[in-house]
Symmetry: C2
Subunit: 367 residues, 2 copies
């Protein structure tokens, strides 16, 4: 193999592929990335067996070939090279990297044992804007569970109905749902995508409204295709929770409140909590006022906020961290929160339900 | 105690005093800071018994008094308050903090057991610009030793001779010296200041050329006085090394080289090292060229650089991290490096010796 390419392009490609290199693994070969030079392109490939990434750059291929190289070391060397034109070639089981007056040589491995991405039949293409997909991920992925014992909760439900796409997650204490509209109508899809995949995808997407991502599905995989990159991820097998049955429109109390002020006030209550503390922040809603308060071993805090209220007064307690996650994910200046009673979850949603956040209360009588 | 003050001012004062609150301690009282309100000012005081800080702000003192409060919790609350005017008062062993609609109350302790700073006789004032002092610290403090078994090496030698001030540190592998001129002549001073003190002082100083710091010395203490702040630190007892005897003007080889290019090249060699690796980077100086090279278990690297040379060719090896520390501390575009032989330290210094960095080589024949 012998190639000449541009540092910034190679560096970008490596950074994309690195997302599929596991931090820890017992399989040495997964710590590697493949450089594959063929007539018309140079590919960088990584795969942690759940998530695989192939991305390519253009360059001058003087000799075709493919090799495996330790991903982390290779990426650090490329990032630190002194100028823009890089020559890379193999000789005697070493990869030589020459840039300006700097020369590196590092060992290579054969690609024989590397798990290349399987070929996937690209049927039924779904097109979505990079901005929309990234935004949907960012506004829901925080409420997946990190408990691997319940594999389904570590993923998100991706559902497409006609021209409506929705992404949902839940962890037993809360549910986050983000709904968007697609430009076309599609056949029904309902799959569970690993949260880790979505997090890495959201980091790689440029987030431009006008840049599209193509999505393809098989029984076991989801494929994201955009620009020079494809990301192939396993789906999580199993049946996701019937979230639609958990959503109710009934309420006894509705409040309208400034989102940022509420977020900052709840952030202040957490100053009196340790990481492991499970003390609730109390919402005392009376007439046109809500008082947040928190009592812990470190002290007491309370703060009043003006609200608009419909319905009954209510006193209810929440884990402040769950409430903050939802408030941070919303962009609207004012929000509506719906309550039923002290023991039922509250709903935060806008009128057309572009987002729905459902949060379970903490039993304040038990404290 | 009852005071009204401005959030940003109080926050700044707390951040200064926090530098003297120990991260870990078995003495509860040291985790506190004192708020002391007297007729004309509000003081914030902290002391970890080695380093003590007193700083003050103006404000409205409605009732004089002094209390101890947990420093970390207090600072986090003040930082997160919603608006600018803060009321602080004690009532029933609690400190009440009221700002806008937010109210906090946290426990207080009496100041009885708090180690207030001792009164220090302010004789023989030495005046230095904040910029100069901070710069001297930053350019030498990295080569103190972190090994507490040799207490003297954890400090820096501060020496004043006439109008010359110098700060020096050494850790057994290298020496860093920074010399500056004062505006006036002073009596001779030679003391060892704890490195930790200097690091904290350099963080608090504004670094303005026109803002002065007053230094005072006792047998056991150094006092830094500037603006509304005094920092009192114990000195390290003992006799510092005779650094002046370690400096030589003799050399066999002198090179002139671009500092930034050399630094970047040596940074690249470290990509092939693990944190614990002790492999040297080789300097092969021949005619008007120097080749850096490094061989490790991860691969090989070499890079040529143009130099100007006087004297003999030489092949010598250094710990790349020590070389990088010195190169990062120097601001000049080109530097001179002086070598004697493979086993003798090299000197990096400018013509008027405003800085001197001495680095021991690694024995390359032993590898």
């Amino acid at each position: 193999m012998k190639i000449i390419c541009i540092k910034t392009e190679l560096n970008n490609a490596i950074n994309i592929a690195l997302k599929a290199v596991p931090g820890k693994t017992t399989m040495d070969i997964l710590e590697c990335m493949v450089i594959k030079a063929s007539a018309d392109k140079i590919q960088i490939i990584a795969n942690d067996l759940e998530l695989g990434i192939e991305t390519s750059i253009t360059g001058q291929v003087e000799e075709e070939g493919e090799i495996c190289v330790k991903a982390k070391m290779f990426s650090e060397i490329i990032r630190k090279l002194p100028s823009d034109e890089i020559k890379i070639f193999t000789e005697e089981n070493m990869l030589h990297i020459v840039c300006g007056k700097a020369k590196f040589s590092i060992p290579v491995q054969s690609t024989e044992e590397f798990p290349f991405l399987p070929e996937v039949m690209k049927e039924k293409k779904i097109i979505i804007s990079q901005y929309t997909l990234r935004n949907m991920i960012q506004k829901t992925v925080f409420s997946i569970s990190d408990n691997e014992n319940n594999k389904i909760m570590t993923g998100e439900l991706l559902e497409i109905n006609g021209s409506k796409i929705s992404l949902s997650s839940l962890d037993g204490h809360r549910i986050s749902i983000k709904n968007e509209n697609l430009k076309e109508e599609y056949d029904h899809i309902r799959v569970i995508v690993p949260g880790k995949t979505l997090i890495e995808v959201s980091k790689i997407l440029t987030g431009n409204v006008d840049d599209p991502v193509n999505l393809f599905f098989t029984d076991k995989h989801i494929l994201f295709e955009f620009e020079n990159t494809i990301i192939l991820s396993r789906l999580i097998e199993g049946k996701y929770y019937q979230i639609e049955n958990m959503i109710s429109k009934d309420y006894e109390t509705k409040i309208t409140i400034n989102r940022r002020e509420m977020l900052e006030s709840i952030e202040r209550t957490t100053l009196l909590l340790k990481e492991s503390d499970k003390k609730p922040v109390l919402f005392d809603i009376k007439d046109s006022e809500m008082v947040f308060s928190l009592h812990s071993d470190f002290g007491n805090m309370d703060e009043e906020m003006d609200i608009e209220k419909e319905g009954k007064d209510i006193l209810i307690g929440f884990n402040p961290r769950l409430m903050m996650d939802a408030l941070r994910a919303i962009e609207n200046e004012t929000i509506n929160i719906f309550f039923v009673n002290q023991k039922a979850p509250c709903f935060i949603r806008d009128e057309n339900e572009s987002y729905i956040y459902i949060i379970m209360p903490i039993n304040i009588n038990a404290n």
